[in-house]
Amino acid sequence: MIRYVFNRFLHMVVSLFVLISATFFLMKAIPGDPFTAEKKIPEQILQRLYAQYNLDKPVFEQYLLYLKNILKGDLGISMKMLNQEVTNIISQTFSSSLKLGVVAIIVAVIVGVALGMLAALYHRKLIDNVAMVMAVLGIAVPSFVVASLLQYLLAYHWKIFPVMGFKGPMNYFLPVMALTASPIAVIARLTRSSMLEVLHSEYIKTAKAKGLSWFEIVSRHVLRNGILPVITYVGPMTANIITGSVVIEQIFGIGGIGKQFVQAINTRDYPIIMGITIFYGVILMVARFLTDVAYVAVDPRIKLAGRKGD
């Protein structure tokens, strides 16, 4: 286990280094800089701004400087949001994305697994059909359509929830619904198919023959085995959701990290682009690591040590 964690950590450091380097040079390769504007800044003032942010140095030197600062844990200062530290901006915007994301993940897993279970237990019955039609819709309809539709019906037409904002619990409903439509669908389908498979396996028959109650069989054997594929999916989904959905954040007016990232790219705010990229990288790697650990917890047949090649 320790060896596994250590390997995994080394892996992460190397990946991060590659990520940082690639992003840095690609970002610099895009024409334009943070001070590009329709109304041109006079040359002398521009040169001073460049000097202030080290943009006057050769790109490779800037890169080394950046690496040096990163090692010190310094992500720098935004070039567009004046004098604001990148770490502050990330922590502020991420806290919104995280709050929304955690709620969305919990809702997605609970509703998704419950729907999938129902569908499997009532295979080919009405519940199954309804759940699967919903699942297909959830996957097929893009989230911005769901979001606009929810906004129009639940906020504007029926006036149940506010259209936008992120102040109170009422503000969570619409974005959570829009954000979870597709994950719920995927989880429901995964749960259903793997549960169906398990339900027909030999050991369930054995369990039945042993005289275990139906409830016990489902909760102890079926669910536990049937949930494995869901875990595989939930790891990346978690990373995906908590890093903020640009579309959902735009539509519902949530000051999250996804919105910030896109804005930073549009304005060439180099330190924020780098900061958020690194942050995303770390989250994704941690999520993958946790997924692997969760596998072991659920299925003792899987051994972490056996995954050396990873």
Binding site: P31, T36, I45, M81, A114, L121, K167, M170, F173, G255
Partner: protein, 571 residues
């Protein structure tokens, strides 16, 4: 077995419903939270219950407005965008402020001023006014703020420093040619008197003083580079102070009781949401979550404009603003070195159909470069000088002119690329214009869209043939549009160089006589249009929706919004 199966069904249902209910449980908190928030400002509501001309003011003077982008800074000397402008106008006041009705500069922190006969020396007499922390606002605060802008060794260079180049010695100090600030024409005679010497007579200088780069800042900012990044460290002298700010989410300003004209300010608090989606903004407005929607700080989706105009005739308003949308040529490369070809293209665009079908905002077809709303010689420039005299849409004449031009260039047909920055609106206009050109002139037009940063970079580097562009006013004078096309001008990215034109602009700059300036401007604009360096397409309008109970919101000539005098009626 049947029984346990239904038990499981129950559990599943409970889980689903439970999740929903768990959310609903928080519902009450939301309401009480909101109530607390709205109660706070009404503590002061006692001051506004008076009637004004039969209008009954609402007890709760909390305005709700959306910003489509977050102000990048709250530092007046660093700002350079319209959102910061709107917020800073609430927080600060310069020596002058703009009168909402007339657009003229009127007394701000300065209660009076004397101007020397040659129009070069301004002596400002400051009124007794206070910063939000109770300190007196003095002439030193202005000198300090302006030195911050111009200081070449400032920790943070001010991008808009050139807005102060009208002051004698300012440019030299800013570019390091002189190092002694006392040589710059800014002199503090005493606490309440500021003497400013200009490089050239600048008739619009009083107007410039109401611009944010000229706002004073409190001397406490000197030792704190991050003062404008936190709410507590911002001491302001305007009608409001910043009281709440969540990055990317919302901000709020609250009435500043220390403001000298606090009696004129009826709003207690203005809550701004930061949402960059026109559709969401419009829906929130319709739902009563916002008191105002639309430009210049918000957005209504273009395709919705004709609909809301009909649906809310009493709330919809449209105002011409001093900005122009145009196509410009790279005139350093063939075939656009030929003025006849350029002019033919300008004459072959039918502007009204583009406005009626694409831009939908009631924009005005443009045939000149100085837009509506710009004042000169005591009247509106565009009213005094009709742009129809420069050229007109004439497809047949355009075709003849094009053929002549092509013959001069030894070409038999014309094909070129139009570049625009990625945006649905620009794309639609480009497609329409390309189509009009193709039909009227038989030219081959390729369209190319580029991401904003790339686009601007290429345009500045003359790496284009025909490009879309827009220009808005920095101050209320034709100069803000015309001086950009002088030879080698920082914003002249067409390669245009005409000594006659340069001479006219130089003469207008040196003159304090409005009639002479007017004459030079007209002559200069005529040259610009005869040479057809740019094809004007339309003059911008600002479209917005304002609830009937929200009063006192004004837009100036440039479309900048002033919310400081806004208030709510009972509704």
């Amino acid at each position: 077995m049947k029984k346990s199966k239904s038990l499981l069904l129950m559990i599943a249902l409970v889980l689903v419903i439970g999740t929903v209910l768990a959310g609903c449980g928080g519902n009450n908190n939301a309401n009480s939270g909101n109530a607390a928030a709205t109660n706070a400002p009404s503590d002061n509501a006692g001051t506004n219950t008076g009637n004004t001309g039969g209008e009954k003011l609402a007890a709760d003077q909390t305005l709700k407005i959306n910003l489509s982008s977050e102000p990048p800074t709250f530092d007046p000397q660093q700002a350079q965008d319209s959102t910061s402008n709107a917020i800073l106008k609430l927080m600060y006041e310069g020596l002058t402020r703009q009168n909402a009705e007339t657009g003229q500069a009127e007394e701000g922190v300065a209660e009076s001023w004397d101007i020397s006969a040659d129009g070069l020396v301004y002596t400002f007499h400051l009124r007794d006014s206070k910063w939000s922390n109770g300190d007196a606002v003095t002439a030193n605060d202005f000198a300090f703020a302006w030195q911050r802008v111009l200081d070449p060794n400032a920790e943070q260079a001010a991008p808009y420093a050139y807005q102060l180049y009208y002051i004698k010695g300012a440019e030299d100090f800013n570019t390091g040619k002189i190092t002694d600030f006392s040589q710059v024409g800014i002199k503090v005679t005493d606490e309440k008197t500021l003497e400013v010497t200009l490089a050239n007579p600048t008739p619009y200088f009083l107007g410039l003083l109401s611009f944010y780069t000229y706002y004073p800042v409190h001397s406490s900012v000197k030792d704190n580079a991050k003062w404008a990044t936190t709410v507590d460290t911002q001491i302001t002298n305007g009608p409001f102070t910043l009281t709440e700010w969540t990055t990317g989410q919302s901000l709020a300003v609250t009435k500043n009781p220390s403001y000298y004209a606090a009696d004129d300010i009826k709003a207690q608090q203005i809550n701004f949401s930061i949402v960059n989606s026109g559709a969401t903004e419009l829906l929130s407005y319709k739902n009563g979550e916002l008191d105002r929607a639309g430009g210049p700080i918000g957005e209504i989706p273009t395709e919705q404009l004709p609909i809301v105009e009909k649906e809310f005739p009493n709330e919809f308003s449209r105002k011409g603003i001093a900005s122009v949308y145009y196509y410009q040529f790279n005139i350093t490369e063939k075939p656009f070195t030929n003025a006849k070809i350029r002019k033919a293209l300008a004459m072959a665009i039918e502007r009204q159909p583009i406005i009626d079908n694409i831009t939908l905002g009631g924009q005005l077809p443009a045939f000149g470069f100085v837009p509506t709303g710009i004042q000169s010689n005591e009247q509106e420039f565009r009213t005094a000088v009709a742009d129809s005299q420069y050229f007109s849409e004439d497809l047949a004449a355009a075709k003849t002119l094009l053929d002549e031009g092509l013959k001069e260039e030894g070409l038999d047909k014309l094909s070129f690329t139009v570049t625009y920055n990625t945006s649905e609106g620009h794309q639609k206009i480009a497609v329409a214009i390309a189509d009009q050109w193709k039909k009227a002139l038989g030219v081959e037009v390729k369209l190319e869209n580029k991401e904003w940063g790339v686009f601007i970079e290429d345009r500045h580097n003359l790496n284009y043939q025909v490009a879309r562009a827009g220009w808005s006013a920095d101050y209320n004078d034709p100069m803000t549009f015309l001086d950009m096309w002088v030879t080698g001008g920082g914003n002249n990215d067409s390669g245009y160089a005409n000594p006659d034109y340069d001479k006219l602009i130089q003469e207008a700059k040196a003159s304090a006589d409005n009639a002479v300036r007017q004459e030079k401007f007209v002559a200069a604009e005529k040259i610009l249009m005869d040479d057809m360096v740019v094809i004007p397409i339309y003059y911008y309008t600002n479209n917005s929706l304002t609830k009937e109970y929200l009063k006192g919101v004004t837009l100036d000539f440039s479309g900048a919004i002033d919310l400081s005098r806004a208030y709510l009626l009972e509704h």
